[in-house]
């Protein structure tokens, strides 16, 4: 059974903290993606990566960074968390870009207080 696993389902962090959201896939996919989902805004792409150590900015990269040291793991980093980063974060992976079927993790609901 193919899987994308996000390390936490729920997180509560304080303003100014450095936050790491981890995502692991077991399908040997080249491409991995981080989205945030907000009511009324749908899914917005933060960053994506099509290879180890490669990263590309999505539509809303400000305030975030990413790390992909291994093919199976893609981390989203909030350098200094702010309340406007309270959201649902979704990780996805796919073969050869999003023209193929994407597999999503279960999401991490992050609350910054």
């Amino acid at each position: 059974d193919v899987k994308v696993t996000q390390s936490s389902r729920y997180l509560v962090k304080r303003t100014g903290e450095k936050v790491f959201l981890e995502c692991v896939q077991d399908m040997d996919h080249e491409n991995m993606f981080w989205y945030r989902q907000d009511p009324g805004l749908g899914l917005r792409l933060i960053y994506f990566s099509y290879d180890v150590k490669m990263k590309e900015k999505g539509d809303i990269p400000e305030g975030y960074s990413v790390s992909r040291e291994k093919k199976e793991r893609f981390s989203l980093i909030l350098e200094s968390a702010s309340t406007n980063q309270t959201s649902m974060y979704l990780c996805a992976s796919s073969l050869w870009g999003m023209n193929t079927e994407a597999f999503f993790g279960q999401g991490t609901r992050l609350t910054v207080v």
Binding site: G42, L90, G97, F104
Partner: protein, 117 residues
Amino acid sequence: AQKVTQAQTEISVVEKEDVTLDCVYETRDTTYYLFWYKQPPSGELVFLIRRNSFDEQNEISGRYSWNFQKSTSSFNFTITASQVVDSAVYFCALSEELLNRDDKIIFGKGTRLHILP
């Protein structure tokens, strides 16, 4: 630029009714891909269908059917004889065929579907 519009924010129907979720897209490319995903209350998006721009044939999978019309830039999704388990948020999405590998998918804002028992 790419754009996906799901005009219906929320829909409620009684179980066993048919329901259609609308999706309208914009793209300048001739080669592109359209998707539907389902997000149940558990949160994980589940892939439902992928359609490329050269394949306008409608698709049926059990109670689900999709109507792709390039003339109106629409890719609508119909659930026949709806069931309570169909309650979820449904996303339509678009991906363009790009020459390099940094292709990405653009999602609509989603339609929340409530199936009432």
